[in-house]
């Protein structure tokens, strides 16, 4: 069957499934809209959390980043999984015991002040909107490729789909659809990986294939990849460190801490029946996430290998590279989106793909082969979507990947939009501005907030300040520097008072935001940055991606200083903290 027909069929079928579930379990009351009914089993909750969590950044973008970054891509892998350890050990059980609906609810009660709630809401909105920008970029890429549109129209279609999808159902719909989405996305990710691993190494499990020898050779896959990369002027894959040790450390930490501070993930742990299950849910979520995350390194490495092999069929640069005329269909397809470009600098009609930033190598290549610079630009975000095509896999696999990418982006966007809508309608409107509004008005306000967020994120996502995974990494930095320290001190440090927590959150959030805007532009608008975003200009060489870790330190230091100078925490709050530390007596989550 034609690829295009196949894509319509499989993507269409997956959508029918999600919409079906959403309609079947349509949210009726407000409490269902936010947290679904109680009693979601830990394994089911773990699976839904995994779908919620694994976004366009994980599915579409991450392996592509790893493909180009080699070893240092591990920052994303460790960062986005290690956070679950923090979540399971430091936050989830206590927040469940506390038993309210939202993160601002907890902050407001623990720090006994509405102003604390407002600061938490601001942090939450900044985090979620940054995060959605990354999702929308991913959504636009998927739709533009598979509907053969340019990126702008891909975004328009993506926004329309996200809109009709999220404004329709609430959390209840989302919990069940997310389980369906998890199944779709994990199949879509692992099936092509298994095929490619079998092709290259003969191993079914890509996790083993990546560390095994290549079919018909006694050379290890990674060794071979190191070699072909060095041949075209890059650093060895297995030791390539794009970030430098300091930034890799800071980025990994920011992603881990940020994971544990992400409102749309935390809110998941309010929905399990008891404290014991809250702990276990985080473990199950990580199991389901790890299936994708341990596959991703193989997807990235093997896609890179196949890409180079396509351009340099002889595996040595001494031989002729691929003729542009002979380029495979997948390259032609991606050229329409503008995300893969060819510029025949030396006008020989052949594609040269190499590291022209490596001066020594570039000079050698020019002298010996007449190469005038790298001629092929491949957007990192297309690597995962293109990898089955690069490997010549059957059409249904390619179509499946499209459905998976859409599922990943949709499920996360839906979870985030829900958090945005609940923070505006529930926390801000009903909690502070107009406590007496009816449930109906509350729901309406939530839907308006969602729509506005989609429009804003779509607009910003057209000119993203980086690849999807990088934009999302910024959201984590913001979560790490604002919410996580306040939540953690709220549980582990009884003496922390409202003044300290509020000052800390504000200091951490705004320091991190300022640092990001200085290098990446105010509100990410291109051209509004004060300094170029590169290591020569960074403060102490710290990348904006990893600055969240510094922001978190600023948060804690400011909080402690302010706490010392202000009134101690009242006794009844300290008692409340004592109470949430003990599992027994966790009732159902209650509304106000």
């Amino acid at each position: 069957m034609e690829l295009q027909t196949m894509i319509w069929l499989i993507v269409g079928a997956s959508f029918a499934l999600y919409f079906g579930i959403a309609i079947w379990s349509r949210a009726g009351s407000t409490s269902e809209f936010y947290v679904a009914s109680k009693g979601v089993h830990p394994v089911a909750n773990g699976m839904a959390t995994a779908a919620d969590w694994m976004s366009a950044a994980s599915f579409i973008s991450m392996a592509g980043m790893i493909a180009f970054m080699g070893y240092s891509g591990g920052a994303f892998l460790m960062g986005w999984t290690g956070g679950y350890v923090l979540l399971a050990l430091l936050l989830a059980p206590y927040l469940r015991k506390f038993g309210k609906f939202t993160v601002p609810d907890f902050i407001a009660d623990r720090y006994y002040a509405q102003s604390a709630r407002v600061v938490a809401i601001i942090s939450l909105l900044v985090i979620s909107i940054t995060y959605i920008v990354g999702q929308m970029t991913g959504v636009a890429i998927v739709f533009s490729r598979f509907l053969e549109l340019d990126l702008f129209w891909g975004m328009v279609v993506g926004m329309a789909v996200v809109f009709s999808y999220t404004v329709l159902g609430g959390m209840k719909g989302i919990t069940y659809t997310q389980i369906a989405q998890y199944v779709v996305l994990i199949f879509a990710y692992t099936v092509p990986a298994v095929f490619i691993s079998l092709q290259l190494t003969g191993w079914i499990f890509p996790q083993i294939g990546l560390g095994a020898t290549m079919t018909g050779s006694d050379m290890y896959m990674l060794q071979k990849l190191d070699q072909v990369l060095v041949d075209i002027g890059f650093t060895e894959y297995t030791i390539n460190n794009n970030f430098g040790t300091l930034n890799m450390f800071l980025l990994t930490m920011a992603l881990m801490v940020g994971t544990a501070g992400l409102p749309h993930v935390i809110v998941r742990f309010f929905t399990v029946p008891n404290v014991r299950d809250a702990r276990k849910s985080a473990g199950w979520a990580l199991v389901f996430i790890a299936i994708l995350y341990t596959t991703a390194p193989a997807v990235g490495a093997m896609a890179m290998f196949n890409l180079i092999k396509t351009i340099h069929p002889a595996e040595t640069i001494a031989e002729d590279t691929l003729l542009y005329e002979d380029r495979p269909q997948w390259m032609r397809n991606w050229e329409t989106t503008g995300l893969l470009t060819f510029n025949d600098k030396n006008e020989d009609g052949r594609i040269q793909f190499y590291n022209d930033g490596n001066r020594e190598f570039a000079a050698m290549a020019e002298e010996q082969y007449g190469w005038k610079g790298n001629e092929l630009t491949v957007n990192r975000d297309i690597m995962v979507l293109a990898s089955p095509e690069i490997a010549n896999l059957p059409n249904w696999v390619i179509a499946l990947v499209a459905a998976g990418g859409i599922a990943a982006a949709l499920s996360t966007a839906a979870g985030l939009l829900l958090v945005i809508s609940s923070s505006i309608s529930h926390d801000l409107l009903k909690g502070i501005i107009a406590p007496k509004i009816s449930e109906k008005t509350e729901l309406l306000a939530g839907r308006i907030a969602m729509s506005a967020a989609i429009l804003l994120a779509g607009y910003l996502g057209l000119n993203p300040p980086g690849f999807a995974a990088q934009v999302v990494a910024l959201a984590f930095g913001l979560a790490a520097s604002s919410l996580f320290p306040a939540l953690m001190m709220g549980i582990f440090f009884k003496q922390m008072n409202k003044e300290g927590a509020i000052a800390g959150m504000l200091a951490g959030l705004f320091a991190t935001l300022a640092y990001i805007f200085i290098y990446m532009g105010f509100l990410f608008i291109p051209g509004t940055n004060l300094f170029p975003n590169n290591a020569d200009y960074w403060l102490f060489g710290i990348s904006p991606l990893g600055f969240g870790t510094i922001g978190a330190v600023i948060n804690v230091v400011v909080a402690l200083l302010v706490m010392k100078m202000t009134k101690p925490t009242p006794a009844h709050i300290q008692d409340m903290v004592e109470n949430i530390r003990v599992p027994r007596g966790a009732g159902k989550a209650v509304d106000h």
Binding site: L89, A212, M248, P297
Partner: protein, 86 residues
Amino acid sequence: MQPTGSAAEYWKANVRLLVGCLIVWFVVSFGFGILLADVLNHIHLGGYPLGFWFAQQGSIYAFIALIFFYVWKMNKIDKQFDVHED
């Protein structure tokens, strides 16, 4: 109200377990995967240099094991101090 003796001890046991788990968490990822990666890369696990393996595979497996170990241990502590749920 100050916590009673057993509540304080429960919390202490919990924090002790947490600290132990977090040390392992730090060592497998930041230790083996980042700070010591260059040294560990001299050792190979099949085709994987060991530091690379920890950064891209091993730390993730360790995280899963850690969480389930913590859940199991914590349930025991809950029972021991009689604060477990029904």
